[in-house]
């Protein structure tokens, strides 16, 4: 079983990596914050319905369909973040980051969160306290956002965009 604080630690690790890469790429503040804002929206769009579906599963007599649908929302995050970041870059006239990197980075975050939530040994009806829900959901949101940015900024053209 893993402790609760390990998830915020993982989130912090992803944030640190993303911030480090942004510094390495010498991204401008506007560009960085713009991408972060898009990634946050993608994370919320993935997490909010996912959590709602799991909540519905807890009240359903046979929650398998709801749980599968909830899981699908989370698993869809890499695709969602790649699409959102690509569309935002197109709209703002910025050079695109790495779509493959975003898929891989976000996919890694989804795998890490799935592993954590499994090893935390609590289920849908497992008595989540308000603090636990707050800490874990915030951490998942931060992890997803940071991982998407990390992947997006891994493209070599991002720095040229900043220089323009």
């Amino acid at each position: 079983m893993v402790p609760l604080w390990s998830l915020p630690m993982l989130a912090a690790l992803f944030v640190g990596c993303a911030a480090g890469l942004a510094a390495l790429r010498r991204l401008g503040t506007n560009r960085a914050l713009g991408d972060v804002a898009v990634a946050i929206r993608a994370a919320v769009i993935s997490i909010a319905p996912g959590v709602s579906l799991y909540a519905a599963a807890a009240w359903s007599s046979d929650g398998a369909v709801w749980r599968n649908a909830g899981a699908l929302c989370f698993v869809a995050f890499p695709l969602l973040s790649a699409i959102a970041l690509s569309l935002a870059a197109q709209k703002r006239g910025w050079r695109r980051g790495s779509v493959v990197g975003t898929l891989l980075g976000s996919g890694l975050a989804v795998a890490v969160v799935a592993t954590w939530v499994t090893l935390y040994l609590k289920g849908v009806r497992g008595g989540w306290t308000s603090i636990e829900m707050l800490v874990s959901l915030a951490s998942v949101c931060v992890t997803f956002t940071a991982s998407a940015c990390l992947g997006w900024w891994s493209g070599r053209t991002v720095r040229q965009t900043n220089d323009r």
Binding site: M1, G70, T115, T118, L121, G126, G127
Partner: protein, 572 residues
Amino acid sequence: MVAWGVSGCAGETDGLFRLTIVDHDTSEVVAARVTLTHSSGAFVIPAEALPVFGDCGQIPFHNWAPVAATLQTYWGKNRSVRNPFRGSEDFYSSGTLTAKLRPGRYRIQVQKGLEYREAEDEFVISAGAEHRLRVALRRWSNLPAHGWYSSDDHLHIPRPHPRFDPAIATWMQAEDIHVANLLQMGLARDVHITPQRAFGPRSLYQAGRTLLVGGQENPRTHVLGHSIILGAKSWIDFPQAYLVYERAWREAQRQGAVAGYAHFAMAGAHDGLAVWAPEHLIDFIEVLNLGFPYYKTWYEALDLGMRVAPTAGTDYPCVATLPGRERFYVKVDGALTLENWLDAVRRGRTFVTNGPVLELSAEEAGIGDELVLASPRVVKVRARVRFDPTRDRVERLEIVRGGEVIATHAASGENGDFAIEVSVPVSMSTWLAARASGQKVGERPADSIEPLIEYVLRLNRRADRSLREELGEAATPERPRPSAAHTAPIYLRVEGTPPIAEQPRAREVARSWLELLGDLAARLGDERLAGLAGFPGSGDGVTLEDLRANRTELLQAIQKARAHYQGRVEPP
């Protein structure tokens, strides 16, 4: 020793092997377990072998994404199964099989549960030639013909999708298991392992006289033991009150299920039994499991006047064993249906065995019955054991009354069948049972049970200090594997005499259970609670918060039980 698989695209120099396994008496094609050994010593696993599954703690992704269970089960299937009893790699066959084999000499051994003799043969495969082999399995016992059906109450075989049902049913037929209880395993706070798609009647899959039924090993903690519920209509779980087993058992009773304890009701389960025994929520205790029998806790429960049936199960694949190695037979009235089977377990019409077959009667009363005597008198008791001498060497047949052996027949060259007939003076209400003991024949020495002993001793229960001595032979390293069987009791009620629960032996047990409860309450104290939560190797996810959250209700239950036993120790 190595095992090699044989696919349909083997080389042109291979020979073709066609196997048919039949029941000698009926000539019907039957499923069985096969050991096929090439003269080089390699075990052969044909491509047509039945798939087998198991789940003893795969990462439970399916807890969050149920579809993962089907994928994990599908990917986790295997065609070979380790036979720890003779160190071979076996496979299961539905009864007919075609395989391309390398030329050479082969040895085939075919087994089907306990009631068929093992068949053995040798054959030669020549390049480009076909070899047909018909193996006829002979029964030495036919208990189903008398309404006795075999069950394993403890199989961790996942069944998340109906597509797995036919293969699992054939697998169970190959082990001659009639009622296979496939248990989903719970951890504290809603985490489930070995997923079952449904439970009890809704989960029922019947193929001939083979039933697959979803059950649960939940609640399941190191603190209060591993509980089994069979036949409940739904998964029963109270994550917020996980340590308050009473809730789960009451719900099981409400749903028409039977509830009991796994693993001999040993260690933490002994405490749990002491806490809730007065509530009459327990129907059975698994007394034959992990390769050996242990009757101490069960006898105590019987001596306290509880009517608890003995059951047996393997915990496959969490333990190195084969499904049905330890099993129990249930005398079912009428057709084999889940309802009739549950009713028979509830009535205690069972015997447990890993080989020998037992019979017991006290005049007209059979196993699980109550014989009412108008006054103290002599009762004629008959016990009989039958076994396959090629697999079991039964050394003793005993009749037990109230936990004490009152008659013994030591084997002296009998060949697979002997009996005791005694006249037992019965002066007050009691229980009688028969048990057999000996050694398995032609098997490797048993694995050490030291890890189990160390696990139990780490719990620091005062009652376990002499566990190693209590386990006796089972704790001896490199010992021969035991052959064991035990019937459920026949209850003798003598009118006008005190019931079992009010007799001196019950007072003794009540006194010792009061000590258990005192010890448990102490371990739930503030100073020791953290140690209990951090118990290493428990794998049940019980945290300090869980213990704190459940402690008040648990201490109330302990208090109630203490008052009950105090009343037994000091009758008004």
